[in-house]
């Protein structure tokens, strides 16, 4: 009598299902917003980097627009600004202001300036419902698009480098044009990637291409050429000057000389803002467009000069392996079976450790699926633990009871029973001693022995025993033919007056029962009981009963045949409750149940099912 021990399938199945559910949730994009938030938060909390030595941003503020500049700035004002900037000899000037025709006075002067100051780049807009064309006289490498790729929550996390416009011409972004012009003096030009030929590369700096499932992203549009934005962290990533400060002529020339200078609005009134959760010090999370351009340019230039890494994610397969791994870790923790407090402490520390290492890796520019990993681990550790603990408790209670019963019986067996047995065996047969005493002793002997049977019955747990209608129980771990034999015996003994005079032709040969579940065995026992009770109920004047359990031509067969009155006295409804149950049982075994007339008279009740069960049933069963 071994207590029930779950096999590895029943142990692993719940945990693996939880893990599979999390993976499914991620595939459906349910976790995407959480993973984005986690990325934003971690990026924002990174230690500060030094201010970028190659980029200066000239901001047009609300105050500028109210005092020294008209809005929009006239062509003359822009021409003057470019001329003045050029006197400091910057590497490249980026004007993050749309201009597709004359504004105010000085249009010819602006065209003239742009022609002479070749290292100036202007923006245009190529996507969406209202594209903005560039100035017609500009050469192709003086214009770059300013369209941004926003995520579905409206936040920016990617940099768009190149894409086909609405006329299907491949266009480069403002960012790429600025980098191109900046690197010109170093003799570096834009080339295709070496590891990934479809991506862009400046010298050694190959820009990793954003895929539709990169990192926490799920089925995102990855048209054109994009990369994740590895924002420059810290409160002051770039040198900034307001327009007014710049034209005051009182500035450090080194802030412009040999640098990339970006000019754009930071004025609230112009509303050139994009949402981002990853940049420090900007509250609310609205960031001026020109700053985002500066971040995008900065990450490529820093990669080229300082080998600063781009933000990278693992291939999908590795990400899901990590999630599966953290699920298994959770399952392992559950089956390690520590005390509840220790379990809680270990679980919390494991999750904290996971999140901290996720953050650490992000600082090193690796974006890992920390959110799904933490969720999988947490769910496994938190959901499975109480179930396993309660089962464990139940099992130990059962073992304790079993021990107690065995001890009790052992005491009886070794003491009074032995005394009795030896008394009885030493009694000479031919000595006609007081007869009542002998029979009393025999009765006492039987009574003592029956204590064990009674206790044994009590002890079997409800999951593994078959309790027949007579309240007697059978251990379901028995081989099926022995189980049937006991069910037969117990049922017959319930109605000794009916069954004793009947001649019973019985065979309980070994059946193939390795693939049967405990439930199926229980139902088979009940089936036999029911069939025998039916004989008692309906087969009047039966003189011969055949109960035959054996294997025949690849099938397990259980037959109960009587020679009684037969169908005549059977219940008016042929499909009673028992019949339905028998049919359900037959279906679950892939077999057949039949109740037919037997010759010359009587009823034959038969259940047969194939020995070989389909592989999938075996596994689940």
């Amino acid at each position: 009598m071994q207590p029930w021990r779950p096999n590895w399938q029943t142990r692993l199945l719940p945990g693996l299902s939880i893990t599979a559910l999390v993976i499914l949730a991620r595939l459906f994009g349910i976790l995407q917003p959480l993973e984005w938030k986690m990325l934003d938060l971690s990026l924002r909390w990174r230690p500060a980097e030094a201010t970028d030595p190659r980029i200066t941003v000239i901001e047009i503020t609300d105050e500028d627009l109210q005092t020294v500049l008209p809005h929009p700035p006239s062509d003359q004002a822009l021409a003057d600004l470019i001329q003045t900037l050029q006197t400091y000899a910057p590497r490249v000037i980026g004007i993050d202001i749309f201009r597709d025709g004359p504004v105010g006075e000085g249009y010819p002067a602006l065209l003239q300036t742009l022609e002479t100051v070749e290292n100036t780049v202007l923006i245009h807009k190529i996507l969406g419902l209202s594209p903005v064309a560039p100035l017609p006289s500009l050469s192709e490498n003086q214009i770059g698009f300013a369209d941004a790729a926003l995520d579905s929550d409206g936040f920016i996390r990617r940099s768009l480098l190149g894409i086909n416009d609405q006329d299907d011409n491949y266009r480069f972004s403002f960012t790429v044009r600025l980098v191109e012009k900046y690197l010109e003096p170093d003799g570096v030009i834009l080339e295709n990637g070496l590891r990934d030929p479809e991506t862009m590369r400046f010298g050694p700096a190959e820009i990793p291409r954003f895929q539709e499932n990169t990192g926490g992203y799920i089925r995102t549009q990855n048209s054109g050429n994009q990369t994740l934005l590895n924002f420059r962290s810290g409160p002051s990533p770039f040198e900034t000057l307001t327009y007014k400060e710049f034209i005051s002529q009182d500035i450090d020339p080194e802030l412009i000389h040999n640098r990339a200078v970006l000019v754009g609005y930071t004025a609230d009134s112009v509303k050139d803002f994009i949402s981002s959760g990853a940049i420090q010090g900007m509250t609310p999370s609205l960031v001026p467009g020109v700053h985002l351009q500066a971040h995008a340019v900065s990450q490529i230039l820093s990669a080229f000069y300082d080998k600063r890494p781009f933000l990278k994610a693992l291939p999908d397969a590795f990400e899901y392996l990590l999630i599966l791994g953290s699920g298994c870790l959770g399952i392992a923790l559950v089956y390690w079976r520590r005390q509840p407090m220790v379990h809680l402490l270990l679980g919390v520390s494991a999750i904290s450790l996971g999140l901290v290492s996720g953050y650490g890796l992000l600082v090193a520019s690796w974006w890992l699926p920390t959110v799904p990993m933490a969720i999988t681990f947490f769910l496994n550790a938190a959901v499975l633990y109480p179930f396993d603990q309660s089962q464990l408790q139940l099992r130990s209670q059962l073992e304790d009871r079993q021990k107690l019963i065995n001890q009790t019986f052992n005491t009886i067996h070794n003491g009074p029973l032995q005394t009795l047995a030896s008394m009885l065996s030493r009694w000479p047969v031919d000595q006609s001693a007081p007869a009542p005493m002998r029979s009393d002793l025999k009765t006492l002997n039987h009574e003592l022995r029956s204590i064990y049977d009674a206790m044994q019955k009590e002890m079997l747990s409800s999951t593994e025993q078959l309790v027949l209608t007579s309240q007697q129980s059978i251990d379901l771990e028995l081989p099926l033919n022995e189980l049937c034999r006991e069910a037969y015996q117990i049922t017959l003994e319930r109605y000794p007056d009916f069954f004793e005079p009947i001649i019973k032709i019985v065979a309980f040969e070994p059946l193939k029962d390795e693939h049967l579940s405990i439930d199926q065995k229980r139902n088979l026992g009940r089936f036999l009981e029911e069939a025998l009770i039916n004989v008692k109920k309906y087969a009047k004047s039966t003189t011969r009963l055949t109960v035959d359990c054996r294997q025949r031509d690849g099938n397990n067969v259980i037959q109960v045949i009587d020679n009684g009155e037969g169908f005549k006295s059977a219940p008016s409804k042929p499909k009673g409750y028992g019949t339905k149950q028998a049919q359900t049982l037959a279906r679950s075994l892939n077999g057949q149940f039949q109740r037919t007339k037997s010759t010359p008279k009587g009823v034959r009740c038969e259940l047969r099912w194939p020995i070989e069960q389909p592989a999938w049933k075996r596994w689940i069963g």
Binding site: L424, L483, E486, L492, I503, K504
Partner: protein
């Protein structure tokens, strides 16, 4: 060949009980009856299994409630599973089971029915002379199960067929074996099973076949 050798040579008995005093008592009684028999003893299921394999005894007398190994608790389950494994492995081993729980043997009935050698069950409360009768029957290849193990008359289909061939058609064992397509030895084996089922056992001075016929006709087995 093997059979005759076993009959002429010295018999070996293996007696199993976890209780030293009972073991001693049983051995004493046996030694008186079978003076030249070689009697060995064992107290745990593990040793029994090893010894049966080793010395191949003619007769095993075992208590059902025994421990698996030294120091374990005595359990009927242990004895039952030992018996199950012996019945499946040693078809020619004569067995006497001493049991307090005759009913727990019901589930082994199919195995007992097909066991080729003698098998008798002796309640622990039997007197020594009654016990010796059970030993003698087991050595003679007979089957004895107490009436509590069945309700009324219970036969296997093959046994009934044999009975009808023997008494309705009046065939000899040899003819029956041909008709049923089994060996003559199997027919003899069937007789012992049928006799047990009908509660007919050898008694000096009576013809057992005639007794069997009478009992079968009485109970309505024959037309």
């Amino acid at each position: 060949m093997v059979v005759t050798m076993a009959q002429t040579s010295v018999k070996t008995f293996l007696v199993v009980d976890d209780h030293a005093s009972v073991l001693e008592g049983t051995c004493r009684v046996l030694q008186v009856q079978y003076a030249d028999a070689k009697i060995t003893t064992a107290a745990t299921a593990d040793t029994v299994e090893a010894m049966v394999k080793d010395i191949q005894p003619d007769l095993l007398i075992m208590d059902l409630s025994i421990p698996q190994r030294e120091g374990d608790l005595s359990q009927t389950e242990t004895g039952l599973s030992l018996l199950r494994s012996l019945l499946t492995t040693y078809a020619n081993l004569n067995i006497v089971v001493q049991s307090a729980h005759v009913k727990s043997l019901i589930r082994l009935k199919s195995l007992i029915d097909t066991h080729q050698a003698g098998f008798t069950i002796a309640d622990k409360g039997l007197s020594s002379s009654e016990m010796l009768v059970k030993v003698d029957w087991a050595l003679n290849g007979l089957l004895y199960t107490p009436p509590e193990m069945r309700l009324g008359i219970e036969l296997k289909p093959e046994w009934l067929e044999m009975l009808q061939l023997a008494f309705d058609k009046g065939l000899t064992d040899k003819a029956i074996s041909k008709q049923m397509n089994v060996s003559e030895r199997t027919v003899c084996h069937y007789w012992t099973r049928v006799q047990d089922a009908l509660g007919v056992y050898p008694e000096t001075g009576t013809n057992i076949r005639v007794q069997t016929y009478n009992k079968a006709r009485q109970s309505g087995l024959l037309d």
